[in-house]
Every structure is written in C-alpha cells, then in structure tokens.
Symmetry: C2
Subunit: 229 residues, 2 copies
C-alpha cells in the first residue's frame, strides 16, 4: 500500500529536545541571580523573535542565549560567561545521538520492504552531522532537510519524486509539522508523541481522519503498517 | 544540448562576499587596539576551525566573530561589544540582495528555453531568504541548498532528477565548488570569476577539458550556450 515510509528525526528517532532542556538548565543556573522564570521567558521570547532570521537549530539557539544574557544583565555579562555559552553550544553539537527505544530494529525491519525517507526540519549542517552520527544513514534512500514543514514543503517533495500522497506515510512526534499537513494533502500519518513537546509546536488544527493514527512508541509501527497494507 | 542550466548563487548571481568584507572591516575597527592583521588572522583561523561544526553562513560567522573577540581580549570584551557583533549579523541578514550586472536579463532570457536550477552552498535559512529577496525565485524550477559541493553532492542531485551529466551545465564563480567536480563527472561548467575570492576557496585541482569555459561576466552566457548547443 505504501511506496514510501518517511520519518521525522529529532524526538522521533533520537532524543533532541532533552539536549536543549539540559542546556537551558545550565543557562538558567549561570544567570541564577535573575530568577529562573525571567530567564526562561526572556530566552523564549528572544528565540521566537529570532526564528525568522535564524531558523531552527543549535547556532540560532546559542545566538539567542547570548542575546538574552546581554539583555538581562544590561550589557554587564562578562566575556567569560559568553565563552561559557559558546561552550554549551559546542557540547550540544558534539553530544552523542541517543536513539529512542526500538528505533534501530524497526528501521532495519521496515527497510527490507519499503523505501524509507527522512524528512527533518532544522539547520542543514546540524541535521547532516546528526544523521551521520546516528548510524542509521544507510537505511534511508532519501533525506530531505527543510526549513519548515508545511503543505507546500511536502507537496513539493512528493511531486518531485512522483509519489502519490495516498501511497505515502509520515511518522513523527509533532502534530503540527509531521501529521496535520500530510493528512491535509491526502497522505497518511502516524503520531508518536515525545514525552514533552516544545510549546511553540503545540497549537495545531483539529485532525479527524482515518489517514491518521497515534502510537505510544515506535516499536508498534511495523504491525500498524502491516494492518494498513 | 542541455537539459538543465544550473547556477551558483552567492557571488555568481548576487554580491555576497562584499557583505562579509564590510562586516569584517567593522569588526576590525571595533577591535582596532589589537592591530588589523592580528584580528584578521585570529578570525580566519577561528572560522576554519568552526567550519566543520557551523558550516557556511551568517550565523556561524557571527559566532566566530564573538569567539575571536573573547580570545583577543582575554575575556575582557564587554556585553555591549558582543551586542554590536550581534547587530552586525542582523544587518548582514537584512542586507538587500544586489544582483550582479546582466543577471536579471540573462536569467529571464535563458528561462524561456531551458530548465534553470539554483545550487547553492550555505545555511538553509540564509539561502532561502536570499533567494526570496532576490526576486529571481520564479525563474528556477529547482533549488538545491547543500552543505558542500562535491562530486558526491552533484552526482546525487543529477541521479535523483535523472539528468545525464553531459546534458548539464553549471555556472559559478568558484573553481573548487562549481567547476572542478562538474568537469570530473563529465558535465559542463562555466567559470565566471568574482572580483575577489575567499582564500579558503582558491586551492583546486587543475582542470583541462573542453567541458569547461571561462567568461568575464554573465552577460556573455547566452551566446556561449548558443554556440555549445
């Protein structure tokens, strides 16, 4: 039934948000004299303001932390503290890729009968090095790194590869990015929630369709594919 | 004779290096007590060290400037100076796209008889916003934003689109990125040098092939395509 099974990467195949959360904790601690809530709110609004210019990814996050530290200290942040923020970033970029449970077996199993794709949103070089470090690169016949996941993005990719939406299924943790646009173009989608989800991602239109399933973890995916096929 | 004419973007269709040069001048001035050569050398080696992690693009350049300013001042750089560097970056990202002479006419003319592609190396969101701001987006039937331009990159793109190398021609200002790998896979390439070229780009293998031409400016391209076709 499916020509292609496509996966989101961050927080679908491997942990990603947890690395941002860990770094945010260190950042809050560094600026602890300003109170954790103020730090968090300022960082969050700086990030949202910068999203249009910087996109998603570690480099933009580092720049937003630097800007936040300057704003909160009225310019009194020290060079050494800025250096610490740069080091936080470098640690994020070097962090080992931790696959989520069942991912390796499921990807290996499905790759025997299907074309698997990876469609991930973010910074080009961040995502490329993560895919390389994940050890999963060889299972995917196509990798698309995009700056946003909208109906336009998915339609362009499917058209370019001459894939009919109805023969395409996308697996991901974000309703807004991985599920809603796919169902809207007539493709299938499987939502596998990650334990926590970035607040910016939580708003999404209602989805009511037999093209959409929800699973508790990715280990249940092969059975679902079998049933649908 | 050609199925596709592909263009590099930065310094082939529009000015780009000049924006980096202008910013570097401001940065040198900000740190003028350290001597212009020391600033330049430190920035250059920081950039090369960071290339693997940050890739090409404005965000990585800002981070390298920040790191350089900390290193040169032994951590004594002020929050306001760091803010200035962030503002340099924001100006770069907002800078208007200045097309090179003849570009608009040539792209418009060639688009009437050929599929035009854009293949550009750099940061995903930087490049996407530049293409949008250039006003040329509609002339290109395919845009590829890649982290590096190697034989592997080009082979993957051509295979995916089922284009024979011999029916593909690439136009660009960098021997290393736009010319050499193309000639090596049997495609055609036209080198149009930009007035200055980033030092990291200047080393490249010798090219000796009738698949390769050099033009003084892009206004001469339609005639060359006509002759070859």
């Amino acid at each position: 039934m499916f020509d292609v099974i496509a996966f989101d990467a961050d927080d679908t195949l491997w942990h990603n948000e947890s690395i941002f959360t860990m770094t945010q904790n260190k950042f809050r601690e560094m600026l602890s004299s300003h109170g954790p809530e103020v730090v968090e709110q300022t960082l969050s609004s700086t990030q949202i303001k910068n999203l249009k210019h910087f996109g998603y990814g570690v480099k933009g996050f580092i720049l937003s932390m630097i800007e936040t530290s300057i704003e909160l200290t009225n310019g009194d942040v020290s060079g050494n503290e800025i250096q610490q923020i740069l080091d936080f970033g470098r640690e994020m970029l070097a962090a080992p890729i931790e696959l989520l449970p069942h991912v390796r077996e499921v990807v290996e199993e499905l790759s025997q009968n299907y074309h698997l794709w990876l469609i991930t949103k973010g910074d080009l070089i961040d995502q490329e090095t993560k895919i390389a470090r994940s050890g999963l690169a060889d299972y995917f016949s196509n990798v698309e790194i995009v700056s946003d996941k909208t109906i336009v993005t998915y339609t362009k990719i499917l058209t370019q590869h001459r894939i009919e939406p109805v023969r395409f299924i996308m697996i991901g943790n974000s309703m807004r990015s991985d599920i809603v646009p796919l169902v809207q173009i007539g493709a299938h989608a499987v939502h596998i929630p990650y334990s926590s989800t970035w607040e910016h991602e939580q708003d999404h239109p209602h989805v009511d369709s037999d093209h959409y399933s929800e699973l508790q973890h990715i280990g249940l995916l092969p059975n679902l594919i079998l049933e649908k096929g």
